[in-house]
Symmetry: C2
Subunit: 484 residues, 2 copies
Amino acid sequence: MLEPYIEYMHIKDAVKETGFVVPAGEGDGHIEEILRRFAKKEGARILSVEPHLKVFTGLKDLEKDDTGTTKMGKFVYPDNLASFAEACTACHALAEKAQPVRYGIIGVGNMGSSHFNYYFEGQLQEMRLVAVADTDPVRLEMVKDQLDNILCFNTAEELMDSGTCDAVIIAVPHYFHPIYTMYALNKGLHVMTEKPAGVYTKKVREANEFAAKSDKVYAIMYNQRTNCIYRKLRELVQGGEFGEIKRVNWIITNWYRTQAYYNSGGWRATWAGEGGGVLLNQCPHNLDLWQWICGMPNKIQAFCHEGKWHDIEVEDDVTIYAEYPNGATGVFITSTGDAPGTNRLEITMDKGHIVCENNKLRLYKLDVSTKEHCATSPNGFGSPKGVWSDVETDGWNPQHVGVLNAFAANILRGEPLVGRGEEGISGLTISNAAHLSSWLGRPVELPLDEDLFYNKLQEKIANSKAKKEIKDAVAQNMADSFGN
Amino acid sequence: MLEPYIEYMHIKDAVKETGFVVPAGEGDGHIEEILRRFAKKEGARILSVEPHLKVFTGLKDLEKDDTGTTKMGKFVYPDNLASFAEACTACHALAEKAQPVRYGIIGVGNMGSSHFNYYFEGQLQEMRLVAVADTDPVRLEMVKDQLDNILCFNTAEELMDSGTCDAVIIAVPHYFHPIYTMYALNKGLHVMTEKPAGVYTKKVREANEFAAKSDKVYAIMYNQRTNCIYRKLRELVQGGEFGEIKRVNWIITNWYRTQAYYNSGGWRATWAGEGGGVLLNQCPHNLDLWQWICGMPNKIQAFCHEGKWHDIEVEDDVTIYAEYPNGATGVFITSTGDAPGTNRLEITMDKGHIVCENNKLRLYKLDVSTKEHCATSPNGFGSPKGVWSDVETDGWNPQHVGVLNAFAANILRGEPLVGRGEEGISGLTISNAAHLSSWLGRPVELPLDEDLFYNKLQEKIANSKAKKEIKDAVAQNMADSFGN
């Protein structure tokens, strides 16, 4: 309650159980958290250390309790210098640990603005926003209006060159994701890239290989992985209790978009600017969840319809048929032209069947494996018995904030990420394979022929009639519309 | 209540409104229906005509009412001969009209037995079962145990040659359907064939052309068309209120079958005996409903997995992708290996969206066409508004009995059939196209290359490892396992 008014603090730390006084940060006083919160305030922070930490005459009387001992335990020093040195060491360690991740947002358009707001609303305890970059001065002005001391840069490169950040969030058009990822890692910055990891796996593989040689954290904004429904679903499917997957059907069409949406950004829905339509823009989360929950298919045949519901050159209606190494099959249907649209995912396994719809999980648990029942039942028509139930989840769904807090915790303490950047290539592989299969009119086997996809994409760009300015080849100089 | 005890009836007929006495069958006495029910009793029926129908002396006194007139109206005859002749004509006409359709069942296996039961339970008012044919004497014996006077034949041909029936129900393995259809029509018999109309459209087309030259009724057992849910769905989709179809997805996997099922009949699940698996056996209704509700696609790509869940040589797992002339797309997923399985059909239209699941229809009615909203809304993300509602139906779902009663009514009075036999080719075309596409590993355009499908099917039969005895080429001599 009084937090906003604090200007000065006198810190002592102790262990509650024993009552021993200890150097700051080694006790139960939550000194690290207190310092971290204090550090988030505007302006420089100062920690001073008192020079009289030797056990002085009279301390015994001051500190002794009923047992006649002092509570200094092992922390009794021979002289002032020794105790002062110990206190300084403790303070340094604390300050180091309490330091939030200083980060910059590259691109404060739709997604970048949301990232700004998560910070501004105080939801990111271990991150401090110090800089933003955008090619649009109006957007920079809007940020500055809200946060006085923020550093503003006109290009992504200037921000990354500035040495003011420990990490960056990349929230610019897709083509730039792997490019800026590599640029940032090269500058010793941790990276959180927005999805998709890129437009084509050839480039994302390059970024992944680059990241493998870096000691910095490379993460991807797979915020849907934080959804309790999908986490629980993955746990059920991968837990093994229900046996192998037989079939997965996902109809995900509840993201209707108007023509105005596609007209809103110059890079949108063009081969040169975005590199695809619904697969690259709306679906990356779902393509990731699909493989995160069910594993990667080994064969894809897709039917992508370009400009079917909108005046755009890229696909806005897709049906993907997939086959898995174990023989299972899958169908993934998406579009930005359906209203009200459907989001229904069903997964059939040997001993269970799960339907995920309307933010609910319904599980049919079979008493016996279908495979076994098939082989042993003398009855021709009887289905193996089972029971339907509603599946409970932990209800936790922190989305972007959860991903960013995990990112900071990973940087600071090595805690697990929600999505490692390297994993971004999996969903993108499905996306690229779907495009390629549709363009070729035949099934595409995985691993994907990444060069073939790249070449076909370049043909699409070359034959594009859309008057768009962004070209991948000159991306670093042409960051003139990112953030839209 | 007294119906079973009636041995003799004295018939008079009159018009209620005017009170006029009229020749039997021309009044409101339901004489035709009474005679029809009377005729259903075992043994020969006799109609006799009284010879004293002249207006006799004293009739005036007997019949006159308060107005002083008789109620004989125009039916006053000059002499006995004239009135007797008139009465005989009326009785003949009545007897002709009241005559139920005499029919035979070819094959009293699974489906044929059900057909027998519908009759035995008295659900078919306008049909009289007079004969059955089956190659299995045990089955014939079972029928005879229940119906003393029934004629039993050891082959379909003997029954059709016997001249005892007006119509036949063909309930034998699929290959025989078009063959017996033509045989029956050639013998002047009306035909109700079980689904599917045949195994390959080339043969069914032959039957259709044969039927076109016949004046007999050719019908198909599309009993699911009588289901109020599907009738209502068709009405909603074809009514035009919701604009064009954009997408249709049908997951229909709730017909789990065990290995024992496939082992139960020698012809089952073989290329030679059945000509396919789930597409030919479980799906014909749904493939028909699909086209009946949504129209015919013009392009099919399918993925049929043979012997995936069972030890059979034909497909038991199928995913069909379809495209329609207007650009709409469809997916149809089926299998006999899933438990508990799903039956969920959703149809997306320009101004409406319908979900059919758990015997319920849910409709989302949009206030404005998606096409129009897309073009005119200044908002990028807003979906057009609409309202969900549960759709009411008439609740009528007479299934096989409904189809058979309509069949009789069509024969007797030209009332509409539930399914014309000629329509059977549509669903089968989708089925054949799905097989062909899967075998070729590429999309198949419609109209189907029927010769190509036929040749590929013959290859499948030739390469079959299943030891089955039925061959299409010798079908008429090899009817040794129909009825299984």
